[in-house]
């Protein structure tokens, strides 16, 4: 129960603005004014002295950091293109290729009765992205930002996001734990969204029918061309980053993908989390700059991960093709 008198008393005590604006300065304020205007040295606190003593060391550290940055980040000065050696190697498959439509239809039949029975508004994944800064001086700077993301949300579009960072990689391929803005494994983002504030593309519950799933992906995912496998995969990636699908929904998703042309088998692969899968590449008919790779679980056919590979044609990128510019692996 609130005690109004006590509240008023404490607020009055805590409020520094109760003094009228035209009131004369206090004795203490006048003393402070004299000290400032006459240049009289204030008594330095031990903490302040310590700070001044630390300045030369801080300066030395800054100089050292500057030279380290010059050594480690040459692409950040002038924006000279540099190859990314530290990006994961582009997935290459082994073994006998499987026809995409046949494999996913078989997998869809197996997944239909699998857990969970109902979808969950939650996703957990590891993602890895080449971010690019276009600086005011015209230079560009690309770096890799690995993250582990957990998203939980509710029908009212409230929810939570937790992001744990990995160690950024630089274009030269050097891992930079010393220059990383945050250490690997640190929680860099822990955000709660109040109702209506969470950005969710697929707010409606996913359907369990293949045709309905195609329409759902197109409508909510913003697919312009349902026959462009790269566009479809982008929407699927967003869907799986918001929902943990039921077995029936995952089955419908695979069946809908079976109707999309342009998936080519690349054989057996191991995804970035070390899981055995089958890889299928997808080339957009209208964007030759990238192709996508879809990895399905070799046994169950479940979607494990997706990757995007740069093939060339973007002058702003300071790295050479082919380069994996992003991957996402669901857990």
């Amino acid at each position: 129960m609130f005690d109004e008198e006590e509240l008023e008393r404490q607020l009055r005590r805590a409020d520094p603005a109760t003094t009228p604006s035209n009131a004369p300065p206090s004795v203490r304020a006048e003393a402070d004014l004299r000290r400032i205007t006459t240049g009289a040295a204030a008594k330095k606190s031990p903490q302040r002295r310590h700070r001044w003593l630390a300045l030369p060391a801080l300066g030395a550290l800054l100089v050292l950091a500057f030279f380290l940055v010059q050594q480690v980040l040459p692409s950040n000065v002038g924006g000279n293109p540099t190859a990314i050696a530290a990006t994961p190697p582009v997935l290459t498959g082994t073994g006998t290729p499987r026809e995409f439509a046949v494999f996913v239809k078989e997998a869809a039949a197996k997944l239909r009765d699998q857990e969970p029975e109902t979808p969950i508004r939650e996703a957990s994944y590891e993602s890895w992205n080449v971010n690019t800064d276009f600086n005011a001086d015209g230079s560009t700077f690309s770096y890799v930002s690995p993250q582990e993301v957990t998203t939980t949300w509710r029908a009212d579009l409230s929810g939570e996001i937790t992001v744990v960072t990995g160690t950024p990689y630089l274009p030269e391929g050097s891992i930079t734990p010393d220059t990383a803005p945050t250490p690997a494994g640190a929680i860099v983002r822990e955000e709660r969204f109040i109702a209506g504030e969470m950005g969710i593309v697929f707010a409606a519950e996913p359907p369990t029918d293949a045709a309905a799933m195609s329409a759902y992906l197109t409508e909510y995912g913003g697919i312009e061309d349902p026959n462009d496998p790269a566009q479809v995969l982008e929407a699927v990636g967003q869907l799986l980053s918001e929902w943990t699908l039921s077995g029936a929904e995952h089955s419908a998703l695979l069946e809908s993908l079976a109707e999309v042309p342009g998936f080519e088998s690349i054989g057996s692969v191991t995804d970035r989390l070390g899981r055995a899968g089958l890889g299928f590449s997808a080339q957009s008919p209208t964007d030759p700059r990238f192709h996508s790779i879809l990895v399905l679980d070799a046994t169950t056919g479940e979607i494990l991960s997706m990757e995007k590979v740069y093939l060339g044609g973007v002058p702003e990128f300071s790295f050479d093709p082919p380069t994996v510019t992003s991957y996402i692996a669901w857990k």
Partner: protein
């Protein structure tokens, strides 16, 4: 200590936190604001978060506003002074950061969210035809933009 005194102590602490030195202020983000909101709600239950940076207790008798100078600071992972486009919602995924006020192509990603960490001005996400699909004012972001954005401009 009474509930009121505890609340005032919490507010005083939060005010001290938000008045931190410039270096700390530069690293403050909306996530940090939310953490402070969470801390206030935990320390003094019964409050209701009414916006990204305000909490109210006792039907609005007491209102806590955290870090009102957010508009001049980073917005999520979008650094101060930059405009950022993301390939996923809620400022996640691949990020393109633009450090000056110009028109930039975002065609290398499917833009799903946008942040404007400039201190003033407006950012617009447009499609190929030049139609504005989203507008984001300084210090704000859009967690789920319409698809079709291929360029961002600022003014």
């Amino acid at each position: 200590m009474s509930k009121i005194a505890a609340l005032i102590g919490t507010i005083a602490l939060l005010m001290a936190l938000t008045a931190a030195p410039a270096q700390a202020a530069q690293t403050a983000t909306r996530q940090a604001v939310q953490q402070q909101i969470n801390a206030a709600l935990t320390a003094t239950p019964g409050g209701e978060q009414t916006s990204a940076n305000t909490v109210e207790w006792n039907d609005g008798d007491i209102i806590l506003t955290v870090a009102s100078n957010l508009s001049t600071q980073a917005v999520g992972s979008c650094a101060t002074g930059y405009v950022c486009a993301y390939s996923s919602t809620n400022l996640l995924g691949t990020k393109l950061s633009f450090g000056s006020c110009a028109t930039y192509s975002t065609s290398t990603i499917t833009v799903r969210s946008v942040a404007n960490a400039r201190s003033s001005g407006t950012v617009r996400g447009k499609n190929n035809a030049g139609t504005t699909l989203v507008t984001v004012t300084a210090g704000n972001h859009d967690n789920s933009t319409p698809t079709g954005i291929t360029q961002v401009t600022c003014s």
